[in-house]
């Protein structure tokens, strides 16, 4: 292989940042004679993130040095670096703010905040961001200050003053999110109750009882209980978890992997963040059980890059668990080995798609793979992999500890158990709510205090940007997999975003269309170009300037949506039109009916 890496030596800060991940460079670097093994390449994204965090951007010489150390062709390294929103290939101020202008924040006045930040802090110090996963505290911001000891702060109820303080490295107080619900508290049992940094406290509240029970039940017993509990994935695709785990457990190829999808980037979703921030040991324990049940000795948690607090608490929990023999070799003296690490994303919604997530971990561009083969046969590093959402994994704890029957004592027959809902927008008490499956949308909204100020509800976005808008006449829909499916809707990631009569749907639809255009990975034609054409079309409809008649526009959108749904590689393109189409059915634009 010819490898003419960028030759310019790195600056001291750049060398330090790269070496902080890879260790000091050996005196004699091995020749780059073969295509580099995945082992080294998997360090590419962590290295780029270290450059960003410590130097403040990814320069040519920094990227060149990282590529040289890792044996990655520079063109490919550049291809990876230019894929992620949180990596800057241009120099910018060391202190930098990302201000959310996505749906919930827009409804909470994000545009005003953006304008004020520009006036007071200058336009070079900040950029707009898609949903930061803090919608219950909208408007939100993420502020990073680069340096040897980088400071990252994500916070809600953002004001220009708070952003200015964070930019000058002043700590901004973190807010405790609101949580509530009806029925038994399972997923939220320890949230807001335990000290998230204390293993003792976790144990005092029933922590590690599930793992002990799993070791008693044995692999087969755990698989059977998960299947009996009819647990299905909470990440959006609603796939039966028992079937997934069994397929991995029985796969002849070795090694097996378990991966936790904590990329949570669906606009309006923040439940996984709340779980990890307030009950990090719960996820560590659940991952250990997943490893035990599927025969995996290594687990990876892929955490959204915009979640610094969750990263700190999770890393701490993993370190403590390892120190106490709850991770590593011979866990609980039962001869079972399990290693767990956290990988951070770098600003790409598409990396929540399971196969894109694998590529991202492996050091490639976060582009989804064609399926089949499915992850249970060929996942991370091409090996059998069980990948699950955070909430799915945490639900496993109760099932294993108390059994499937107890788990199914609430919920519906098709969807046993409880579910977390991310309620945001125009309600009195936005937050994470745990309800038994089958509760109605209007019950949930009432629980969250209803629409403030006696205003009328205009629409609810159910399931996220990849979900659907429903009008006030459909709030009796029951929140379960089977009920939403029958109604032509989907639970998605549990988003319930409420808009009142003062919220214009037009700008919201434009934001959704822009989101999909921005987040398309760009691989396949239907989505790469289709999301662009969709955004143009929505702009014309909202401005009441159709090409031809409104009817020709709607026909065009219909065909566009159909081909994106049918011919795109992954779920992003396949669902990119659903919220927009549902909103157009709700509200006429440009005189359409």
């Amino acid at each position: 292989m010819d490898l003419r890496a960028i030759e310019t030596p790195p600056g001291e800060d750049e060398r330090a940042a790269v070496d902080s991940v890879l260790g000091p460079a050996p005196a004699h670097e091995p020749p780059l004679s073969a295509r580099v093994t995945d082992e080294r390449r998997t360090q590419l994204l962590p290295t780029l993130l270290a450059l960003q965090a410590q130097v403040g951007w990814v320069s040519e010489r920094g990227l060149g040095y990282a590529c040289r150390r890792l044996g990655v062709p520079p063109a490919e390294g550049f291809g990876v670096a230019s894929f992620y929103g949180l990596l800057s290939l241009e120099q910018r101020p060391a202190a930098f703010a990302h201000v959310c202008d996505d749906l919930a924040c827009k409804a909470a006045g994000a545009e005003r905040l953006c304008a004020e930040v520009t006036t007071r802090l200058g336009e070079k110090s900040w950029a707009r961001s898609p949903c930061l996963g803090l919608c219950e505290q909208a408007p939100a911001a993420l502020v990073t200050v680069a340096g040897q000891r980088p400071l990252e702060q994500a916070f809600g109820h953002a004001t220009t003053d708070k952003i200015a303080a964070a930019l000058s490295a002043t700590p901004v107080a973190a807010q405790t999110p609101h949580f509530g619900g009806t029925g038994p508290r399972r997923l939220l049992a320890r949230v807001g109750v335990v000290d998230p940094s204390s293993l003792d406290d976790y144990r005092a509240h029933g922590g590690y009882a599930a793992l002990r029970e799993a070791l008693v039940r044995g692999t087969e017993g755990v698989l059977q209980e998960i299947t009996l509990a009819k647990l299905v994935g909470r990440g959006g695709a609603a796939f039966p978890t028992g079937r997934k785990w069994e397929a991995v457990a029985r796969a002849p190829a070795r090694p097996h992997y378990v991966v936790c999808n904590a990329d949570e980037s669906e606009p309006g979703t923040f439940k996984d963040r709340v779980l990890i921030e307030h009950d990090p040991f719960g996820l560590v324990e659940a991952m250990t059980i997943a490893g035990f049940a599927t025969g995996a000795e290594r687990g990876v948690i892929y955490l959204r890059g915009e979640y610094p607090l969750a990263f700190a608490r999770l890393s701490h929990a993993i370190a403590v668990a390892r120190k106490h023999g709850l991770l590593g070799a011979d866990i609980m003296g039962r001869g079972f080995t399990f290693e767990l690490e956290v990988r951070r994303g770098a600003g790409a919604y598409i990396c929540g798609e399971e196969t894109a997530l694998f590529n991202s971990i492996e050091g490639y561009r976060g582009e989804p793979r064609n399926k089949p083969p499915f992850p249970v046969h060929s996942g991370l590093f091409g090996k059998p992999t069980a990948i699950n959402n955070v909430e799915t994994l945490v639900a496993v704890l109760d099932i294993v500890r108390d059994g499937a029957a107890a788990y199914g004592s609430v919920g519906t027959s098709g969807s046993p158990g409880t579910k977390l809902f991310c309620v945001s927008g125009k309600v009195e008490k936005p937050g994470v709510y745990e309800l038994p499956f089958g509760a109605r949308v209007d019950e949930l909204i009432a629980l969250a205090g209803g629409v403030p100020g006696g205003k009328k509800l205009r629409a609810v976005l159910l399931g996220g940007a990849a979900g659907h808008f429903i009008g006030p006449e459909r709030l009796h829909v029951q929140l379960s997999f089977e009920h939403t499916r029958a109604a032509g809707l989907s639970l998605g990631s549990g988003v319930v975003m409420v808009f009142d009569e003062t919220d214009e749907l037009g700008p919201l639809l434009q934001r959704i269309a822009a989101f999909f255009r921005d987040e398309s990975c760009g691989q396949c034609v239907p989505c790469r170009v289709g999301t662009v054409r969709q955004e143009e079309l929505v702009a014309r409809l909202v401005a009441q300037r159709p090409l031809g008649s409104v009817q020709t526009e709607l026909t065009l959108l219909n065909e566009l949506a159909q081909s994106m749904r049918d011919a795109s590689i992954c779920g992003l393109g396949q669902t990119a039109s659903s919220a927009i189409e549902s909103a157009l059915a709700l509200t006429p634009f440009g005189g359409a009916s």
């Binding site: 292989m1 010819d2 490898l3 003419r4 960028i6 295509r35 040519e60 990227l63 060149g64 062709p73 520079p74 063109a75 490919e76 390294g77 550049f78 291809g79 230019s82 894929f83 929103g85 800057s88 290939l89 707009r128 961001s129 898609p130 600003g347 790409a348 561009r365 064609n370 089949p372 255009r517 921005d518 987040e519 398309s520 990975c521 760009g522 691989q523 396949c524 034609v525 239907p526 790469r528 170009v529 289709g530 999301t531 662009v532 054409r533 955004e535 143009e536 079309l537 929505v538 702009a539 014309r540 401005a543 090409l547 065009l556 065909e559 566009l560 159909q562 081909s563 049918d566 011919a567």
Partner: protein, 303 residues
């Protein structure tokens, strides 16, 4: 190990193909002509253009025939309304954003499926040099919808041998594959950026002579749209002097070294205007080195 045979039904006809065949192979075995754009015989399928999609009964979405393996008992439709709509839209989306004028096969497919790219409005003006390369993932100017965004931009000409006219790039990835694992193992070019701003580039958009490029020209050999082109050909076309009726193609064996690569020399007015190698050639599989591909220019002493 003997390969088993698999039976499946395509458009009501029985197909019988080896178990490792793709749906495309199976269609071909029945004489059903399936459009392809990003697929090539000698490259690993990337299945990104989606023109080859077919409908498999029981599947939620359409499947790319170029890469999906056959399964016993599959019932496949290659000309259903769903298939026709998706194929038409793929053609319209490409046609409205990329200059596909030098791809005869694209124009033929467009006619077959009744594609009308103009449905999306007039094309937006060309980007300035470097503008698309400076795009930041996750950010773009909000459109007003009056024009259809395109990838149009000035030609990149940074050496004497070939140029890159990315206004014509449909991102089929063939050049990246040819430069990388599928042939050349140089990795001088890769996909960078994201979404509609995804593009083929060297690191930091460095000029080719400053990159790892060894000027083997294998990327030119696989490019289906004319985005990668010999400078000579580009200049002749620009001067409106490119005339295929005056061209001849002669095969010869390259004399630079002892490997024995077959060269196909395309000649117009006594001037070599393009050098390729047959993709089914057992020695080259379509690939050459800088000497075979470009050596003639210097040998003949013409510019």
């Amino acid at each position: 190990m003997t390969r088993r045979t698999v039976q499946l039904t395509i458009d009501g006809k029985q197909a019988s193909v080896p178990e490792d065949a793709t749906l495309l192979d199976a269609c071909t075995s029945l004489g059903i002509e399936t459009p392809t754009l990003c697929w090539a015989e000698n490259l690993t399928p990337v299945n990104v253009c989606r023109i080859c999609v077919v409908e498999v009964e029981g599947a939620r979405v359409l499947v790319p025939s170029c890469s999906r393996k056959v399964e016993a008992g599959m019932v496949v439709h290659t000309d259903s309304p769903r298939v026709r709509t998706s194929r038409k839209l793929v053609l319209e989306l490409l046609g409205s954003s990329v200059d596909m004028s030098l791809s005869p096969i694209f124009l033929e497919y467009s006619k077959r499926y009744g594609a009308d790219p103009a449905r999306f409005g007039p094309k937006a003006p060309k980007a300035k040099a470097g503008e698309r390369d400076a795009a930041v993932p996750g950010h773009h100017h909000a459109p007003d919808g009056t024009h259809a965004a395109t990838v149009a931009q000035p030609v990149k000409r940074d050496n004497d041998l070939f140029l890159r006219d990315y206004e014509k790039c449909m991102l089929c990835m063939k050049c990246v594959q040819a430069c990388g694992t599928d042939a050349q193992n140089t990795f001088a070019i890769a996909v960078s950026g994201r979404g509609f701003e995804a593009r083929i580039s060297t690191e930091h958009d460095t000029a080719l002579p400053d990159s790892a490029c060894v000027f083997c020209g294998n990327c030119i050999g696989v490019c289906p749209t004319g985005a990668l082109m010999f400078n000579v050909e580009h200049d002749l076309r620009a001067a409106k002097k490119w005339d295929e009726s005056k061209q001849t193609v002669t095969d010869t064996v390259c004399s630079y070294c002892g490997v024995g690569c077959t060269l196909s020399l395309r000649v117009q007015d006594n001037q070599i205007v393009r050098v390729t190698s047959p993709s089914d050639n057992s020695v080259t599989a379509g690939n050459l080195c800088v000497k075979g591909r470009f050596g003639w220019g210097f040998v003949k002493g013409d510019e």
